[in-house]
Symmetry: C2
Subunit: 384 residues, 2 copies
């Protein structure tokens, strides 16, 4: 961090923790008797609680979406470039809430928490969580914060699935949904990549069937592999090409198969190692399964338009041309279903080189669309 905060930063933020004592029934059939959610807020909730925006995080995200935790922070929150005074989600207009999801590993109740039934870390005994479960837990947080209706629920990737699920689970509690670089369900290829990541984790001898905490270890290599693989799917072929190409790590080839020869290998290894130190393996398994399971059309015989019929929200859907994890045609499935269900939807397919990660990266056309839509919400709701 620079010594002074940028003028368009939300500034210093402090995570808060909400405690919930009413049992939460989960889709898997199990119940959490009590749980905690860690969250941050940016901006001010207005007197009628009409300006609240929920940010839903993706696979490896957390509650720290914007601002800084301390002056020692080198980086702000993960979506800082979109949240702040004058930014896409303008905190002079909106009260922004971002939480670490249930099952996460950044403070909310999850596999690294103590299981009250055993007094030990949950580990692999933590129940499977679905996107609908997340939304149910988020609704509890909304209740606690006195937010009956969200002005908007916003998310990219897995976060976009939560935004979509909000409009289905609680049709009257969401006015606008912003769904970026997402899909209404995973394809077989998406599931296949997730499965290789899970197998990498479970094959690590330090995984101990998910109870590694009891062995005072973590499945470091498995998590590293999972992240390396994930990372490839977040970036486009073109962006990897322009960033790394075939650049060598040394002046010449070493001809030793397991030595690092190319820059791309070194980069992936660094990403993998850093992730393995900071993320929980059971949470990774749980999150990838939440992705796999998400399929709101299933309850309506695979008719997504039918599933969306009770929805009352208006939608902005954004896709990116080089995103091959959730390619534009996946967003367009959703747009088509919304149109078929006669819902209000704006759609932008942004020509951007960054692949799936484009939803996190500043881009003029993307930010223009995003800012314009959020500002129109503010105007419609009489917030500014």
């Amino acid at each position: 961090m620079t010594s002074s905060l940028p003028a368009d930063s939300v500034g210093m933020v402090t995570p808060q923790t909400a405690h919930f004592e009413t049992p939460l029934n989960l889709e898997c059939g199990r119940t959490l008797d009590r749980f905690e959610l860690v969250y941050e807020t940016y901006g001010e909730l207005d007197a009628s609680a009409s300006n609240a925006v929920l940010i839903c995080h993706a696979l490896s995200g957390d509650h720290h979406a914007a601002g800084y935790h301390s002056s020692a922070d080198r980086k702000p929150g993960w979506w800082d470039n979109c949240i702040g005074p004058g930014k896409c989600i303008d905190t002079t207009k909106f009260f922004v809430v971002c939480l670490n999801n249930l099952g996460g590993c950044a403070g909310s109740t999850g596999p690294t928490s103590l299981n009250p039934a055993t007094g030990k870390t949950y580990g692999a005994d933590f129940p499977a969580i679905t996107v609908a479960d997340w939304v149910a837990a988020q609704a509890r947080l909304a209740d606690k914060l006195g937010i009956d209706t969200w002005a908007a629920v916003v998310g990219g990737s897995l976060g976009g699935m939560q935004a979509l699920q909000w409009t289905i689970s609680f049709p009257t509690r969401v006015q606008y949904a912003v769904i970026i670089a997402s899909a209404p369900k995973l394809s077989a290829q998406n599931i296949a990549f997730n499965e290789v990541a899970r197998k990498a984790i479970s094959s690590d001898p330090d995984f101990h069937a998910g109870h590694y905490a009891e062995f005072d270890t973590i499945p470091r290599k498995g998590l590293m592999l999972a992240r390396m693989l994930g990372h490839i799917t977040y970036l486009s072929n073109a962006s990897l090409g322009s960033k790394f190409g075939r650049a060598l790590r040394s002046d010449e080839l070493k001809y030793v198969p397991l030595d690092i020869e190319f820059e791309i290998e070194s980069y992936l290894q660094y990403q993998g190692e850093r992730f393995a130190e900071n993320f929980d393996a059971n949470t990774y398994l749980l999150m990838t399964r939440a992705l796999d399971y998400f399929d709101p059309a299933q309850a309506c015989n695979d008719d997504l338009a039918a599933a969306l019929r009770p929805v009352e929200a208006k939608f902005l859907v954004v896709s990116f041309s080089t995103d091959w994890r959730f390619a534009p045609d996946r967003s367009e499935e959703l747009v088509k279903a919304l149109v078929d269900a006669r819902k209000a939807v704006s759609y932008a397919r942004i020509d951007a080189p960054h692949g799936h990660d484009a939803f996190l990266i500043p881009d003029e056309r993307y930010f223009d669309v995003f800012t314009g839509y959020m500002n129109r919400i503010a105007t419609q709701l009489g917030l500014s």
Copy 2:
């Protein structure tokens, strides 16, 4: 196998082994003092040795390209649908040679062979091999078989790289090159996937730094992960979707993250397990590095047309619309360079749903192009 051989089969075939005692200097700077290559032939070499076609195999292929080894064989060789009487490569016209490449694990000298210097299995001590090394070894086999000039060198994927390298290493010894679903070099994304596969293998505690044979084990889980990942990249998103979609393994979800939930997971696991029992991990590492290293333009300041200027062969290049491992634009890079270098090249971009594996799968348009080109070679060379 059915009790009687199909009429268009090359029939029963027996692998042969060629021994080479003249040292082979490798690109990595090391030398193999002696080596063996196992190979098969189909059809008859004519009196002037003018009808010989070399088939180069891809990553996990071997010398058994066509026909059956015994009446108990359930499946014929890996490219049986393209090689035989009346097929794309018509064995009534051509004498077809296919070998297991140096460094392979199907009988040719490789990491599973005894290292004469130590009396132990080579394992990780086997030298790195490049595509140019393979071609040099294949040329030794051609010498031994009395073949001065190949009517054609043919290959898909990594096999196509060998065909291209033949035209550069031995311009006067190849009349036609057929390069299918290939690329003139790997992209950063291609290398990245290979690197994850290598890391999966080397992270397996049973890998023992490549000397698993001495520990009487194999890195089964690592190889399985490598193959699962590779397999995803061989198939198209669409073909995985139409084959598996989101079909469940059981009637309903189990909500246990590591249980098999979807059919695609079960399929990948089966593919991975089968591969791990039948393929050598050090060979896999060596083969993926040969892929990574291949870059014939590098010696000419990344000018592929310049690298191709000395070439004398004529070319057929084939790509497949849904191949995202080596997408059509990768073949078109090669075609453009060939045109720029004023070489004769025919190019077909086949609209096929099967992804990279399309080069192995019967498709009327693909086979028409392939057969037509091979038959024109036969006519041009006065073979029929």
